[in-house]
């Protein structure tokens, strides 16, 4: 009788799920909501602030061109190279800023940990696909744009 009760319980469990509510998202129309603004790091305390690791955002008025983010990434993915920019900032004597290649970046966030000037953070934007590889290299001007992400669906469990 053990086999019979085993089968009946399995049947009950299986049919119960036909009417349970499922939490599948219809992706392009419904997007997940994130709390917070993205991963940030506080160099004074030495601890980060929790957030999603998506595309980077570079604050041009704080970056001094010290290359610490490029040095941190050299052992990991070699995705950051410093390029010369046309702008003149007071704190950036050499006028160089990082350019990030998202074809190589692994989104580990150690470059954010390395920056001592509060200039490089990460944001919630993860939809970074493009049609060619050269479009994946984001110049400092592109990195300065704040992303517009409007996901607002939360997962509801049954």
């Amino acid at each position: 009788m053990n086999t019979a009760t085993g089968f009946i319980k399995a049947l009950q469990s299986g049919t119960k799920h036909i009417v349970m509510k499922r939490f599948t998202f219809r992706y392009p129309e419904e997007k997940l909501k994130f709390t917070g603004d993205g991963y940030q790091f506080d160099p004074k305390k030495g601890v980060g602030i929790a957030g999603t690791r998506g595309r980077h955002i570079l604050f041009h008025d704080k970056c001094t061109g010290c290359q610490l983010c490029a040095i941190a990434c050299e052992g990991i993915a070699e995705a950051i190279t410093m390029v010369k920019v046309d702008e003149q900032w007071k704190q950036n004597k050499k006028s160089i800023m990082p350019q990030i290649d998202y074809g190589k970046c692994v989104f580990c966030g150690l470059c954010v940990d390395a920056c001592p000037f509060y200039a490089l953070y990460m944001t919630n934007d993860y939809e970074l696909s493009a049609y060619t590889k050269t479009h994946l290299i984001y110049t400092p001007a592109q990195l300065a744009v704040k992303p517009k992400y409007d996901g607002d669906v939360e997962i509801k469990m049954g």
């Binding site: 009950q12 469990s13 709390t35 991963y39 990991i76 580990c108 966030g109």
Partner: protein, 386 residues
């Protein structure tokens, strides 16, 4: 073919016979190869006589990347993203042992709150890995519902880990000195809700999978590995505990805050494939209890990371620390010569030890038992190859 020595002799005899190329006509060579829906990144060469397997030889090395060599040219923090790639789901546990070893070499101690957060992430990662393992076990046995339910429930835990660490898998969360960021503001309530929901789902798994008479018929009494054989072969983790040895590194050599947590070591005495399939499930239930206690006991204030300079130098010496991951004992043996990069880093993984038992379990069993036995050894091919 009852004792281990008999089996070793038989396998050696067949290995010599095969290299001499005078095969028996009844035997058929099968290559459950890397291009197979039932094998992973891994190949097993099998000789079958009708339906019985007479010779099995695992062929590993398809995903070897040279992790240990690569780590000699990167400093301690830069090593973390590439060292966690062998097991992308369970990444906190594989970096946990590394962090403990480097902390010993550098000579720092992570703050208490950091230790608690690290342990919470490790237990959540254990649940994530074990649900994935359970899903693949279901599909190997042909049970497609058991593939979809754990994968779906795992998504909720991964969502939780994304709030905590920023990434769904490959978190790069624990570093030497603590963890990289503090918990977000409503993490405790969300974590408790998810854990409660997950425990309710675990009951459903038991109904449809573990108490299903067809599964029991397929796995009970199959692939028996006695207690002495298990200790002699050197298996670890849930495979060892399924043969009646109550050995869990979190109890034997407690690290971080595990000596303050009250949990039981789950082991079963029946030594067969069903026990090996059931123990990870019991482990998941224990992990839920552990997470609740950790959330309770966590101190409310304090830093989570001991501040170190990026290019820190370690003291010369060697150390070996190990951790109980989802697959067994995972240890790091690091030799440092006083610089900023490790001189030699060796990873000793549970999967590599467990796969040594595969030929001895497969010889003498039927071809239909091969997926059940193989995946119950808790083998993750990428971790074994590093």
């Amino acid at each position: 073919m009852s004792t281990l020595d008999d089996k070793i002799n038989e396998i050696n005899r067949l290995a010599i016979q095969i290299t001499k190329d005078n095969d028996d006509d009844r035997l058929m060579n099968l290559s459950i190869g890397p291009q197979h829906p039932g094998s992973g990144h891994f190949r097993i060469v099998i000789k079958v006589d009708g339906d019985y397997i007479v010779y099995a030889d695992p062929d590993i090395g398809y995903v070897h990347r040279g992790e240990e060599k690569m780590s000699e040219t990167r400093n301690f923090i830069q090593n973390i993203p590439h060292l966690e790639r062998p097991v992308i789901h369970d990444s906190t546990n594989i970096i946990y042992a590394y962090s403990l070893a480097i902390e010993e070499l550098i000579g720092i101690n992570p703050p208490r709150r950091g230790q608690f957060v690290r342990a919470i992430a490790a237990e959540l990662d254990r649940i994530v890995y074990t649900t994935y393992w359970l899903a693949i076990y279901g599909i190997f046995l042909g049970h497609s519902t058991m593939f979809m339910w754990p994968t779906g429930d795992r998504e909720l835990i991964i969502d939780l880990l994304e709030r905590l660490t920023g990434h769904r898998v490959t978190h790069a969360f624990s570093v030497p000195g603590g963890v990289r960021n503090d918990i977000p503001y409503n993490f405790k309530e969300k974590c408790l809700t998810q854990i409660n929901y997950f425990e309710k789902r675990l009951k459903e798994y038991e109904d449809i999978f573990y108490n299903n008479p067809l599964l029991r018929q397929r796995t009970e009494g199959v692939g028996i590995m006695s207690k002495e054989d298990a200790i002699k072969l050197g298996v670890t983790g849930s495979v060892l505990r399924a043969s009646g040895v109550p050995y869990d590194i979190r109890k034997v050599e407690p690290y971080d805050v595990y000596d303050e947590i009250d949990f039981k070591v789950q082991y079963m005495k029946s030594c067969d494939t069903f026990a090996r399939a059931y123990i990870p499930y019991l482990d998941m239930k224990e992990s839920c209890h552990i997470i609740r206690q950790l959330l309770d006991k966590m101190p409310d204030e304090g830093s989570v990371r001991e501040k170190i300079v990026g290019n820190v130098k370690a003291q010369p010496g060697e150390t070996y620390r190990r951790v109980e991951s989802g697959r067994g004992a995972l240890g790091y043996y690091i030799i440092s010569d006083g610089g900023t990069k490790p001189y030699r880093l060796k990873i000793s993984t549970g999967s590599f030890r467990n796969i040594l038992a595969l030929p001895f379990l497969l010889v003498g069993s039927k071809l239909g038992d091969m997926p059940a036995i193989y995946w119950a050894l808790n083998y993750w091919p990428i971790e074994a190859d590093r």
